[in-house]
Subunit: 213 residues, 2 copies
DNA sequence: GCACCATTAGAGTAATAAATCTGTTTCGCC
DNA sequence: GGCGAAACAGATTTATTACTCTAATGGTGC
């Protein structure tokens, strides 16, 4: 692997483990056994590295929301979408940790994140519309936006909830704990599920395991 | 006002306006025209100041949730509780900005926040139980906890949503924007409201103004 | 073998910020 | 007035960190 890519990969790893804030460029360089000068040969500054990481995140999330247009979607489709979204949030979990701080000293990233979030919320709305079309849900038109926004906030805030309210230490956070958010999501959606779907969902929920709330 | 109190008050102001991270002890001292040495005469360190601010927040939120026990509560009671909670979140909004970072380098605060959040969520549950008892809502027992948690996450994350997804600059955040979260809360509660309450709530919602989502 | 350029090393710089140290002033009180 | 303690000033220290500078290294085409 090229040094340039190793820098980004190592940065992502270290950021996820210890938070962007407490990882210096020297840490990154040391971790892959190169000199600080070398790191700065490849990237102008730390923001530049973060921007490249965000490139990946942005692209991956965008791809995620593309549902099959030629046929009805299934509950399986929906479940997979959620699962892959959580995969991404997990893989880039440092982002939603110090997000406000990061955006505060990087105007460009701030712009980009704003567009990203807006698009993400819009895509979530689309998913619900589709769920309605395919008979899984019935949501009054004026409640689609609020629901999508609530879900978005819930999903992007869940790791923060784990870290702060539950006090999970940074290095003990697991993908399984992140998965618990599915229960919360389900409860948000429950009132809008059609009868048959609700039963099926409840069975699925019982299968998965206990809620940690 | 005593210097000791002025330090805390000025810190809170500056933290709210620019974030705890970017406010140094020198800034605080300069703002109230005292020397850094003097500041450190009154407080051991920055964490000490933050702890004193948290003292206030903690106490204020605890008082908040005390509902009249001798009579049925009204929708007005509930609305006031929400309003006062938002007042507090507004007054101490710096807390929920860099919370993860703050707790990461202050073990004691981390412990305290954890207890605080747990209690807050529990209190929220109590409110909903009470709302059920008084005939305003009907929530299946197993959905009270998830609902309370969702509401808690929503309320504590709303300022972050405004700052990141909507890109509101730190110094342009207003109490009115925070108030918008009421709409989101209402949509979360809507499915569980009893008929009469739902109508009343919808009217109230229409009165308040447009949703910014 | 040599010129060229991407790549790398590593010491060094400048800025920042938390905290300390040494003293001086102010205030309550006898 | 004067004494002791609380309150305060301000320069300084210590640590950290993002980033730069100069020089070396190594591969590639000729």
């Amino acid at each position: 692997m090229k040094t340039k890519d190793k820098i980004v990969q190592a940065s992502l790893e270290l950021f996820n483990l210890h938070g962007e804030r407490s990882i210096t460029t020297n840490h990154i360089a040391a971790h892959i056994k190169i000199s600080p000068g070398n790191l700065y040969y490849h990237y102008r500054n730390k923001s530049d590295i973060i921007a490249r990481i965000f490139d990946q995140y942005e692209k991956a999330v965008a791809n995620l929301f593309e549902l099959p247009a030629d046929r009805d979607i299934t509950l399986e489709d929906r479940a997979q979408l959620t699962d892959k979204l959580l995969d991404l949030i997990w893989a880039y979990r440092f982002m939603h940790r110090d997000l406000v701080g990061m955006l505060a000293n990087d105007a460009e990233l701030k712009e980009r994140y704003q567009a990203f979030a807006t698009q993400g919320i819009r895509s979530t709305e689309m998913v619900y519309r589709r769920m309605c079309e395919c008979g899984f849900m019935a949501i009054p038109e004026d409640q689609i936006k609020p629901l999508a926004l609530n879900i978005w906030i819930l999903v992007t805030s869940w790791t923060t909830y784990l870290r702060t309210a539950l006090g999970v230490p940074e290095d003990e956070l697991t993908r399984e704990q992140l998965n618990q958010v599915i229960y919360q999501m389900t409860y948000l959606e429950m009132p809008y599920l059609t009868e048959a779907t609700r039963e099926e969902t409840q069975e699925l929920l019982a299968t998965y395991g206990p809620n940690a709330a």
